[in-house]
């Protein structure tokens, strides 16, 4: 049987980068909650993700989803050493802004703003884009993320020097590389398997 590409229900399409909560509407049929087996639940990692259309679509390949998710969580949530959480989120937000993933940028701009308390700087990144002036340290992290995101990749020794100059140690530089690289994974799934929608007001 041939699978179908879905028509999305009527919705309001976000046309700017925002820190607002957004919904996400799939273009392919997610698995039904009642069809999820133990193998699928392992793939979802968090049982609550069974409520998400995005994760129920990705769980069509449970093994890849499980390992993707566990890679993601360690890059961003592991509190040991390296870059502060706020700046890992900044790298994710900058990558998403440069690739043009409005959904991913909304999530990680919220996290960056929450953890850094620099709401105005985060909003400026969203409004003006990755060339905006934040401060020396954030500019270096954004520039490195953008260079890693470009295809062909333009990340070079000057970016490593730039990160060291603003105080990043080796483990923190590896965190920038991991965070920006990982969002090149996440952005492509979010952008190509469905679309964002403004959250329905309660």
């Amino acid at each position: 049987m041939t699978d179908k590409v879905l028509s999305t229900p009527p919705h309001v399409e976000p046309v700017v980068f925002t820190r607002d909560m957004l919904d996400w509407l799939p273009w392919l049929e997610p698995m039904a909650e009642r069809d999820l087996t133990a193998r699928h639940m392992a793939g979802l990692v968090d049982a609550a993700r069974a409520k998400s259309a995005y994760f129920r679509l990705l769980v069509r390949d449970p093994e890849v989803l499980e390992h993707r998710t566990k890679t993601d969580k360690d890059i961003f949530y592991n509190p040991e050493a390296g870059l502060p959480r706020a700046e890992r989120e900044l790298a994710a937000a900058a990558t998403s802004r440069f690739n043009g993933c409005i959904y991913c940028a909304s999530v990680h701009a919220r996290f960056a703003a929450t953890y850094s308390k620099r709401v105005e700087d985060v909003d400026r990144l969203l409004d003006k884009g990755v060339g905006t002036d934040l401060d020396a340290r954030w500019n270096a992290i954004v520039a490195a993320s953008v260079a890693l995101t470009a295809t062909p990749i333009t990340f070079g020794p000057e970016h490593v020097d730039g990160l060291r100059k603003v105080g990043l140690d080796e483990a923190s530089i590896v965190d920038v590389i991991n965070a920006a690289s990982f969002f090149n994974w996440a952005n492509r799934l979010m952008l190509s398997l469905g679309e964002p929608a403004a959250a329905e007001k309660a």
């Binding site: 392919l28 592991n78 043009g100 995101t149 483990a171 492509r188 190509s192």
Partner: protein
């Protein structure tokens, strides 16, 4: 235990970057497990191993990374791909290469940031060498690599029309997205390793 990212980035056991990568041991372990799940899948029902390796060769070529092209090129030869694939992939890479990210935003204030660029159509000879499924997958892969914000339902319809199931589309989307990550981690770690503090 060594892994593919270490091999491709040239990170030796006991080196400073080896120690730093161990500081994110879950990420390291599960990046490798992601690779294993994609290239040694439990089932080939929705995307065969050879299809996956061919797409990986194309993604590596589009990024212009010799270490990745060599690695996946070897896998293609060892996997027993039809003889015509290697040349067809190389020709497709030359035709498809570009600079990303570009693409369009939803109409509105961001339209000022729209950046036009090519939509890749594979050549007739490469289409017949690779078959309709892989030809469609390569056209989709080009969009994912260079202009992912142009993604839209018709791109998925083209894959369905070429015989890909919904699960197969999820698999190849994960594949291209994972490779976009793997290639960048390797590139970044190589630069860092070549630039000691």
């Amino acid at each position: 235990m060594s892994d593919v990212i270490d091999t491709l980035a040239g990170i030796a056991p006991g080196s400073p970057l080896d120690a730093i990568r161990n500081g994110r041991l879950q990420a390291r372990t599960h990046a490798q497990a992601s690779y294993d799940s994609l290239f040694k899948p439990l089932t080939e029902a929705d995307a065969s191993k050879l299809e996956r390796i061919a797409i990986a060769c194309f993604v590596a070529g589009l990024h212009g990374r010799p270490e990745m092209e060599a690695f996946y090129g070897t896998a293609l030869a060892e996997g027993g791909a039809p003889a015509a694939w290697k040349g067809a992939i190389a020709t497709a890479v030359v035709a498809a290469k570009g600079q990303g990210p570009y693409g369009h935003y939803p109409k509105g204030p961001l339209s000022a940031e729209d950046k036009a660029g090519p939509v890749f159509k594979i050549g007739t000879a490469e289409r017949s060498a690779l078959g309709v499924r892989l030809a469609a997958a390569f056209e989709h892969t080009h969009m994912l690599v260079f202009h992912p914000r142009d993604a839209a339902p018709p791109y998925l319809q083209a894959l369905v029309d070429a015989g890909w199931s919904a699960t197969g589309i999820v698999v190849i989307s994960q594949l291209v997205a994972f490779l976009s990550y793997q290639i960048r981690v390797v590139a970044g770690l190589r630069v860092l390793q070549a630039r000691p503090a």
